[in-house]
């Protein structure tokens, strides 16, 4: 009986925890203005040295931002940009750019 309760409690806890915070599209859009100068307003950059972000996988974009912030991915330009971004900011930005039309899966 006690065991059942513990199992139920564990299950309930599991369901109540978000698997992964997804980010907010509108908040991301509002925060994306700083990115637009290089990456384009909708993530389609017109400068070949700056990657297109539009349509990129959401979790890849988030991962890249985190790596720039931690310094694992070393890029002076991006390091400055992400310095003041919170985890929520990164999730929001990743959500916004992943929903734009641009990059595609190519075999």
């Amino acid at each position: 009986m006690k065991k059942t309760l513990i199992i139920l409690a564990t299950l309930a806890l599991g369901f109540s925890l978000p698997v992964h915070a997804k980010g907010d599209y509108e908040a991301g859009k509002a925060k994306s203005t700083a990115c637009a100068a290089c990456h384009g307003a909708d993530g389609v950059s017109s400068i070949a040295s700056f990657p297109k972000l539009a349509g990129q996988n959401r979790d890849y974009l988030y991962h890249a931002l985190k790596d720039y912030k931690s310094g694992k991915r070393n890029n002076p330009l991006m390091a400055g940009q992400v310095q003041n971004l919170s985890d929520a900011d990164m999730l929001d930005l990743a959500m916004y750019f992943s929903k734009q039309k641009g990059l595609t899966l190519k075999y």
Partner: protein
């Protein structure tokens, strides 16, 4: 006067003749994708090591950026074990060709 004009013409011709960057060939790139497609060509594919996230989409990305990324992986400036191994086996021409392929709309020979 004549010398100036001649010099100008020669300079213009020289600039036109020099490629800004060694251009890759999408068709040559397409046949080199076997190492890439196993991860980048599969919808929703995620890397498992060293951390888990979806591999980036490459279709339509700028060729210059792809070449820069591959070079950074090869030099170790950008760290990822699998990509270091793969990029390390590529020549600069391979990188240019692969980048041209992914940046272009060419998707292989018609059957």
């Amino acid at each position: 006067m004549k010398t100036t004009t001649m010099t100008l013409c020669a300079s213009v011709l020289l600039v036109l003749a020099l490629p800004v960057q060694a251009a890759g060939d999408p068709k040559a790139g397409q046949v080199k994708t076997s190492m890439c497609a196993g991860c980048h060509g599969i919808a929703g594919w995620r890397t498992a090591y060293p951390s888990v996230y979806s591999v980036p989409k490459l279709g339509g990305q700028h060729a210059d950026y792809i070449v820069a990324a591959l070079k950074a992986y090869k030099s170790g400036e950008r760290s990822h074990p699998s990509m270091k191994g793969i990029a390390g086996s590529l020549s600069e021409q391979d990188m240019e060709d692969l980048a041209a392929y992914y940046a272009s709309s060419y998707s292989g020979p018609a059957d």
